[in-house]
């Protein structure tokens, strides 16, 4: 397509942005058709780290598919773990003990903060500011240490099990979470002074990359992209799962539809995550962390099941078709950034190259999740 337009206008030229490019955070390739500094057409080319996770889902038993979840979006692996175990628990009607649910929420929200912190750093890095990245990593490292003490891993967690969690948490972990929240709360004003209120950053983000609510709807965009376009939609609120209804938290919504709005949504979301964790730690009951009776071989009733959770980047949903066997007949993974990125081509038309990259950063891409 784009090569035809190129031949029509001799002034236009094509640029391959990626698959190895500092701004694409992995192996995304964008075929850019440029008119000087302006983007005429930007076509993302996917599939560079496609691993066919969906086929693996059909070949492995339900339990064996569990570690795959952490490999989709490695930055918020626990959200994906949660989505999958909840789906299977729904299918096999497994009751989860309440303490396990609380642990799940605490660890998932910690993971969400770490994901947003990394995005924050990487986004400012895209815009050319290097230092905030390392400040964010400094904070993120505390989360990883805490999660490591519970889950045993630092990035690709495989912690939740059908019917609970693989192990209990200690009080040190809970107090550690509270100390971390205190620390992050005291660091947030620094982030805002250093980055958010910076006039250069505001110039780069305000009004850049407008994505209307209507466009979000047409492209199925979810998560902070949707909330930055003024739509109050969060799976945790709209179709609550786990013990989220127990907690009092807000969904940050901004009406500006630009990159700054998406930026602010994520920054505010970190505050809300901290609120949820605090409430969960205050309320966490004693008890077992594994359901008393979990079938050794899970064979859900035939039919198809759908479960959606709010991952750090938007709605992550799994559609599983079961035939009553110990394997899935079909496992569809609906990843949020796949839809979020699909609006890039239309929305980036006519942008400056620098703005297009700022816009791309504000969508928050994790390529392994797009390519699956």
């Amino acid at each position: 397509m784009s090569s035809q337009t190129a031949s029509q206008n001799k002034e236009h030229f094509e640029i391959n942005l990626g698959p190895q490019h500092p701004a694409t955070h992995g192996v995304l390739r964008v075929k850019l058709l440029m008119d000087g500094e302006y983007v005429v057409d930007a076509e993302p080319v996917l599939g560079y780290i496609h691993r066919m996770h969906e086929l693996m889902g059909e070949n492995r038993t339900w339990a064996k598919y569990l570690p795959n979840m952490g490999r989709l979006d490695y930055l918020s692996a626990l959200s994906y773990n949660l989505g999958y175990v909840e789906l299977v628990e729904k299918m096999a009607a497994i009751e989860v003990p309440e303490r396990a649910e609380y642990i799940r929420v605490i660890t998932t929200e910690m993971n969400r903060i770490s994901s947003h912190l990394l995005w924050f750093g990487a986004f400012v890095l895209d815009l050319g500011g290097f230092t905030p990245l390392l400040y964010a990593f400094d904070d993120r490292e505390h989360i990883l240490d805490l999660l490591e003490s519970v889950t045993g891993s630092r990035l690709t967690y495989c912690y939740f099990r059908f019917g609970g969690c693989s192990n209990d948490v200690e009080d040190e972990f809970l107090t550690g979470c509270l100390t971390f929240i205190k620390r992050l709360r005291s660091r947030m004003p620094m982030y805002h002074n250093l980055v958010t209120k910076n006039v250069i950053l505001m110039q780069r983000l305000e009004g850049v990359g407008p994505v209307s609510a209507e466009m979000c709807r047409k492209y199925g965009a979810t998560g902070p992209v949707l909330r930055g376009s003024g739509i109050n939609y969060d799976v945790r609120k709209n179709e609550p799962y786990s013990v989220y209804p127990e907690f009092d938290f807000d969904v940050p919504v901004y009406n500006e539809c630009d990159s700054m709005a998406r930026y602010m949504v994520r920054m505010d979301e970190m505050d809300q995550c901290m609120r949820i964790i605090e409430q969960a730690i205050a309320k966490i009951p004693e008890g077992p962390v594994m359901a008393a009776k979990v079938p050794k071989m899970i064979k859900p009733a035939a039919g198809d099941y759908y479960h959606a959770v709010e991952a750090a980047r938007g709605t992550f949903a799994i559609r599983a078709v079961s035939e009553g066997k110990n394997q899935a007949y079909r496992m569809k993974l609906r990843s949020p950034t796949f839809s979020n990125l699909s609006l890039f081509q239309e929305a980036s038309k006519g942008m400056l190259l620098a703005d297009a990259l700022a816009f791309m950063g504000s969508i928050d891409l994790v390529i392994p999740e797009i390519d699956r």
Binding site: H21, G129, R204
Partner: protein
């Protein structure tokens, strides 16, 4: 006899200048890395020598021992000559810089003019390097660098003209001498007739950062957009020369700011004037440049041009007129 002394003197100055430029470039890289590291709560280079002080030498040895790759299809002569054009004018400019009353290679009457003349050659190097690389990123970068340099040379020159008007000379030494005797005589204050005073100093500082393609104005080498910009295709010493040229330009810019606004080698309180004051002021400015680089995100081309045409040029033009009036009043 005279000629012999001249030749010896020339050689000493030549070696001194090259050593100063190269040494500064090398150790500014160290300062930059170490400074950036500590700003970001890291330690930075520390393995090669105490505090990593020998790191620049190791870097230099590495760069020199690398193969000089000339990609297929580049415009070879231009590709080879571009790094030299980046480095040579930078060294040339040092000739006219008065580090102190006596340490100056050539006291030229139109020193300021010469500096600006050679400084504008720098952009040619970026243009040639980008153009000859046969790389689209490099071409975009070259185009950006040129438009940026054109936009920022204007306010820079207007501010320099104001200073020339205030001092009544284009000889750098005379400009410094004019500011002798305490900081209240320096040009960054309105006492001499520079109407907007500190504001012009800041404007000049911004212009010099933009001229030297430093962050946040490093559009030419915006790594998240254009990979490495005009020197994407350069390796080995080709890249090394671009790099050294950039740092030499920073030193020149800081030195020029010191000369024009901060009283050169004069002590702020009229005591113990000498080259150390010049160096202290210069390195403080350079540290500010480093700090700025590691604090701000990069501006876009449009807001960069906006800044130049909508803020810097109106301010500097107004300052030119107002200073002329002020000088008239001050007599």
């Amino acid at each position: 006899m005279d000629l012999g002394i001249n030749v010896v003197e020339m050689l000493i100055y030549l070696v001194g200048i090259i050593a100063f430029a190269a040494g500064n470039a090398a150790y500014l890289v160290w300062v930059e890395r170490k400074g950036a590291a500590h700003i970001q709560r890291r330690t930075g280079p520390k393995e090669v020598g105490p505090y990593g002080l020998l790191q620049p030498l190791a870097d230099g040895a590495k760069l020199m021992s690398k193969q000089l790759i000339i990609p297929d299809g580049v415009d070879k002569p231009l590709f080879m000559v571009a790094p030299l054009i980046a480095m040579v004018p930078a060294i040339m400019i040092f000739v006219t810089i008065p580090f102190s009353d006596s340490i100056i290679a050539r006291d030229i009457n139109l020193g300021l003019l010469m500096i600006f003349a050679f400084a504008s050659v720098n952009v040619l190097a970026l243009l040639l390097g980008g153009w000859a690389s046969r790389n689209k990123y490099a071409v975009i970068s070259a185009a950006r660098a040129v438009s940026q340099n054109v936009a920022y040379e204007i306010p820079m020159l207007i501010i320099a003209i104001t200073i020339v008007m205030v001092s009544g000379s284009m000889n750098l030494k005379e400009i410094v001498d004019f500011q002798a005797g305490g900081f209240w005589n320096w040009n960054f204050l309105p006492t001499n007739g520079n109407f907007l005073g500190p504001i012009t100093f800041v404007l000049f500082f911004i212009c010099f950062m933009a001229e030297t393609n430093r962050a946040p104005f490093d559009l030419g080498e915006a790594e998240s957009e254009l990979i490495a910009g005009f020197h994407t295709e350069y390796g080995s010493m080709g890249f090394g020369l671009f790099f050294m040229g950039e740092y030499a330009n920073i030193v020149i810019g800081a030195a020029l700011t010191v000369i024009l606004f901060l009283g050169g080698w004069y002590c702020p309180f009229g005591l113990t004037d000498g080259i150390w004051w010049f160096l202290i002021k210069m390195y403080l400015l350079i540290w500010t440049v480093v700090l700025i680089r590691w604090t701000y995100p990069r501006v876009t081309l449009w807001s960069l041009l906006n800044l130049s045409w909508k803020i810097l040029i109106p301010f500097s033009l107004f300052n030119l007129l107002a200073s002329a009036g002020l000088i008239k009043i001050l007599g």
